[in-house]
């Protein structure tokens, strides 16, 4: 399975260039699309999902011209958008059945079996008679995954799925994503680095509509080996360090800033070499 994105560009009527000659090749498994808010992630997701047309470029998936054969894409696509409307007073089971009908699953027995299977898979079977609009954020997102899995899609897009979830819900949701990614192309769009670190075997970092970095997370981390230096500093020193070093991250640790700088050579001055992580990759790419 292969999703190929070639030279995709999109400028909105207000002049914002959301996608700028973007190229990606995505194979089976979970692909992380990482970028800050406004980087162009959702524009790219919506373009792959055929919800908007690019100004130029080509997207193909297993021989399907995604931009031209939109009906064919609907048969193989599962999409969990940032928001999806639900009807009040309709239970999860009824709503899933409703969308199964809309998706074109005609046979009642097949539909019933699929709805039950999916509710079990996303661990909502015991809550199947509750109305979706009463669900917690995590439950809604798991319901959204069940929705995206209707019709056995081969290409699944999940757009910022863990935003607003508490740690336990996020963990549960990520486990579910991990389960469904076998034998499928799953694109996880997020600005949460840990989600990509935990789940993805391939990734890209985009900003201003361009791909900045693309590869396996472990390879990208390895590329920074020996180049990340750490130091605890005082808050008053922050501006001075920002001016003097290529500072990529800053976290408060025991109330004091713990900074990471990117540098080929040892900066000395009390810095210690540390093993890089994906957050270093992310911030070194977008800075």
């Amino acid at each position: 399975m292969q999703l190929t994105i070639k030279n995709i560009s999109k400028t909105y009527p207000n002049g914002v260039k959301a996608l700028n000659n973007l190229n990606l090749s995505i194979g089976s498994g979970m692909f992380g699309l990482l970028g800050p808010n406004g980087a162009g992630k959702s524009s790219l997701m919506r373009t792959i999902a055929t919800l908007q047309d690019p100004d130029e470029g080509i997207i193909s998936f297993n021989g399907i011209d995604v931009l031209k054969e939109k009906d064919a894409v609907k048969n193989i696509l599962g999409y969990l958008p940032q928001e999806f409307g639900v009807y009040p007073r309709i239970s999860a089971q009824e709503l899933l059945n409703h969308f199964a009908v809309l998706k074109g699953i005609h046979a009642a027995s097949e539909r019933k079996e699929m709805v039950q299977f999916l509710l079990n898979q996303v661990n909502l079977f015991k809550d199947r008679k509750k109305s979706v609009h009463t669900f917690s954020g995590g439950m809604k997102q798991r319901f959204g995954i069940a929705l995206a899995l209707l019709g056995k899609p081969e290409l699944i897009i999940v757009d910022e799925p863990t935003a607003g979830l508490d740690p336990a819900e996020r963990n549960r949701f990520n486990n579910l994503l991990s389960e469904i990614s076998e034998d499928k192309v799953v694109i996880l769009s997020t600005h949460i680095v840990d989600d990509v670190k935990d789940l993805c075997n391939d990734m890209a970092i985009i900003n201003n509509g361009e791909v900045l970095v693309n590869g396996r997370p472990s390879d990208l981390i390895t590329e920074l080996n020996g180049k990340i230096w750490e130091k605890r500093i005082s808050k008053q020193e922050m501006e001075e360090y920002k001016a003097s070093y290529q500072l990529i991250t800053s976290h408060l640790n025991e109330g004091k800033p713990l900074i990471h700088v990117l540098q080929e050579e040892n900066p000395h001055n009390g810095f210690e070499k540390v093993n890089p992580d994906l957050e270093d990759v992310y911030f070194s790419a977008i800075k």
């Binding site: 055929t50 599962g78 940032q82 409307g85 409703h98 998706k103 074109g104 005609h106 209707l150």
Partner: protein, 228 residues
């Protein structure tokens, strides 16, 4: 002179033929735009759901009776959306100038009778086109949302969307969300389809209550329902 007579005869025969069709079956193709029926919050679901679905219906008629129902052995292209509270048919009694809509609830069949009355808020636009070789005039609903293509060469009680009747047979209805178009017409008809089904008569208000009950039941059990 001979040429004039032949031409006149031909015109007379043609007129006689078209007005003679007081029985037959019209097959309508009904297309529903599912995307246009999604709420603003559901727009992203367009990515996974086909834009339209198509089903066939037939209007069977003779001089006395008529029946509008889904066409047998027709598989919908896309998805099946049931209208008006189920797959029940509409039966017409032209002699009494009424039509019946049926509804089944808990294995009991009910019907309500309504007078066939022409709607007055749709006005002719002056545009014409040919559908199945019938000259049709366009009527627009008051709000401009619906176009009806109406021929006076067929009986005026023919409508795929009762109680919408106009000054002639409606062979097409065009709207953003749904459309009907006559795709074939023949003189054949199945007489047994024109017999009224045994059912209990209820008032229009009772029918509406039952329909709402049925609609919510169907919404829960079968999915999207669009009321006509």
């Amino acid at each position: 002179m001979k040429r004039i007579i032949v031409t006149a005869l031909a015109i007379l025969l043609s007129v006689a033929y078209t007005f003679a069709q007081k029985q037959g079956t019209i097959l309508y193709e009904n297309t529903i735009n599912i995307h246009k029926n999604l709420s603003p919050e559901q727009q992203a679901l367009k990515a996974m759901i086909p834009e339209t679905t198509t089903q066939n219906f037939q209007f069977i008629f003779n001089e006395k009776f008529g029946c509008f129902k889904s066409a047998p052995s027709q598989k919908p292209k896309g998805i099946m959306i049931q209208m008006g509270g189920g797959d029940s048919k509409t039966w017409f009694n032209f002699e009494k100038n009424v039509f019946r809509k049926y509804i089944e609830l808990d294995n009991e069949l009910f019907h309500s009778e309504t007078k066939i009355e022409k709607i007055t808020d749709a006005k002719p636009t002056g545009k014409t086109k040919s559908i199945l070789n019938y000259k049709c005039e366009e009527y627009k609903s008051e709000d401009g949302a619906y176009s009806f293509w109406v021929t006076k060469e067929l009986p005026s009680y023919i409508s795929p969307l009762a109680p919408m009747f106009l000054e002639g047979a409606i062979l097409a209805i065009e709207n953003d969300m749904l459309s009907y178009k006559a795709v074939s017409i023949s003189e054949d008809f199945d007489e047994k389809e024109l017999k009224a089904v045994q059912s209990e008569e209820i008032t229009a208000e009772q029918f509406q209550d039952l329909q709402e009950e049925k609609l919510s039941e169907m919404k829960a059990m079968r999915g999207k329902v669009i009321k006509n």
